[in-house]
């Protein structure tokens, strides 16, 4: 596993951009805290996604300007946001009814590990400290599509796409698509099916940094993004 991914892999903005291209017009979308929030910046022209946040806001607007924050108007990441025409407020039980009740079209989350059967580990490394789960275990159930955006390997080079998760699970068989820094993979009947990969990496090299077999679909497209 001596390939140098540094020079070829997508940066976070490019991964987020790629994930945003699959969000259809009119979709109800929940973006996980942190990196997934970046997806909102790359909504394709002419499409409108309606963003949901766990603490009871649907259809919120951009982040609040510094100095203009209203701390009664935050997102699940505790960042100040803004309202726009059409925004709705609701209480927490209704908010999670939207989640579990299958009313969201897409949830996009980060990951420590994704297994080939769609198991996701993203809430605890299992190494102690104060455990905290938030809404992660709820979000993986209910959305029609549960997508993950992530670097393909950890900072130490370990695969994040694996046969079976070794870290504590967030949900069983819940992930439908993974956007990594090297490729786009679907979870189909307990297998990873490769849909797109960077032209700069060979199939063998991609497989060598992946912890489970990558099955090749009918066609594997080049994964292309703008420079961001």
């Amino acid at each position: 596993m001596s390939i140098n991914l540094e020079n070829i892999q997508l940066n976070n903005a490019q991964i987020a951009w790629r994930a945003a291209q699959d969000i259809e017009d009119g979709a109800y979308v929940n973006l996980g805290i942190g990196f997934p929030e970046m997806v909102a910046q790359f909504q394709p022209e002419g499409r409108e996604a309606i963003f949901h946040t766990e603490n009871g806001v649907l259809g919120f607007g951009k982040a609040a300007e510094a100095g203009e924050e209203d701390w009664d108007l935050i997102n699940a990441g505790k960042k100040a946001v803004t309202i726009k025409p059409g925004t709705a407020f609701f209480h927490h039980a209704d908010s999670f009814a939207m989640v579990r009740g299958g009313h969201l079209d897409v949830a996009i989350l980060g990951a420590f590990q994704v297994a080939q059967n769609g198991d996701l580990a993203n809430w605890s490394t299992g190494r102690g400290g104060v455990p905290a789960v938030g809404g992660a275990m709820d979000l993986v159930h209910g959305a029609r599509r549960v997508a993950v955006i992530t670097d393909h390997v950890t900072k130490k080079g370990a695969p994040k796409l694996v046969d079976a998760c070794t870290m504590p699970l967030t949900g069983v068989g819940c992930v439908t698509r993974v956007y990594t820094s090297l490729c786009v993979v679907d979870v189909v009947e307990g297998r990873f099916v490769l849909r797109e990969k960077l032209a700069a990496i060979s199939m063998d090299d991609l497989q060598s940094v992946t912890g489970a077999v990558l099955h090749v679909g009918d066609t594997v497209k080049d994964l292309t993004t703008p420079s961001l």
């Binding site: 009664d72 505790k78 209480h91 789960v133 709820d138 159930h141």
Partner: protein, 235 residues
């Protein structure tokens, strides 16, 4: 009918040692800071607190924990920018934590208020947080049984309140407050402004007064995020 109380001190005065207390809010948004501070000054110990978080800095819930008044916390996300109060005590074994997924926490509270002793949810199935809980299959999928959550008291924050206890909320400060109002034997609401009975249009009442025992006016309530930036310490 007049559920108004003259002060936050009066409103929380009868909360005893060992009580289970739900505290509204998500982070600082919707957190009834003045009621929590009154509870600190009133001084009951051995409390079980239900809140989404574990406080931040040295005000509000974090201060209540720092004062050693909380034996057990039921929450979904006990991490924050400055979680020292909870983290230190937890790591020293001085506070018990029941970690609950956020949507399960909301629904357990709602169920408590609605008289539903248990329900099944897909959340946490197959994870460490489902260990020891009954499961059942419905229409080919397996779900985890979760039990209702009720409290002796709820401390919540509203925007407008009338003498009947009818409440409105301000923007996303609503969060856990309406469901907690339903799930406690006694619900104490601080509101930014009292209005006369009839001063809230019936269509805009969010929490009907039947769920509220006491309303106390706190004009211009403090915001946790602002206090944190000021490095405020309570008491």
């Amino acid at each position: 009918m007049d559920k108004r109380s003259a002060s936050v001190a009066d409103a929380v005065a009868d909360i005893p040692d060992g009580a289970t207390v739900m505290i509204g809010g998500f982070g600082g948004s919707g957190a009834p800071i003045e009621l929590i501070h009154a509870l600190i000054l009133a001084g009951p110990k051995g409390l079980t607190v239900v809140n989404n978080n574990a406080g931040n800095g040295h005000v509000g819930l974090a201060a209540l924990i720092e004062q050693g008044q909380v034996d057990k916390l039921i929450c979904s996300f006990p991490r924050s920018a400055d979680p020292k109060a909870f983290t230190d005590l937890y790591q020293a074994g001085g506070i018990e934590l029941e970690l609950v997924p956020q949507g399960t926490l909301a629904e357990r509270i709602r169920a408590g208020g609605a008289g539903i002793p248990a329900f099944y949810t897909p959340t946490s199935y197959g994870t460490d947080l489902a260990k020891g809980k009954p499961t059942a299959e419905f229409d080919g999928r397996t779900y985890v049984q979760e039990r209702w959550l009720k409290a002796d008291y709820a401390l919540i924050k509203g925007e407008l309140g009338d003498p009947m206890g009818n409440l409105t909320y301000r923007m996303a400060a609503r969060n856990f407050n309406p469901v907690m109002a339903m799930a406690a034997t006694r619900t104490i609401a601080q509101v930014s402004r009292f209005v006369e009975t009839g001063g809230i249009e019936p269509e805009v009442v969010i929490t009907p007064g039947i769920f509220v025992s006491t309303v106390v006016e706190v004009p211009n309530p403090q915001q946790e995020e602002v206090l944190i930036r000021q490095k405020a310490v309570f008491p």
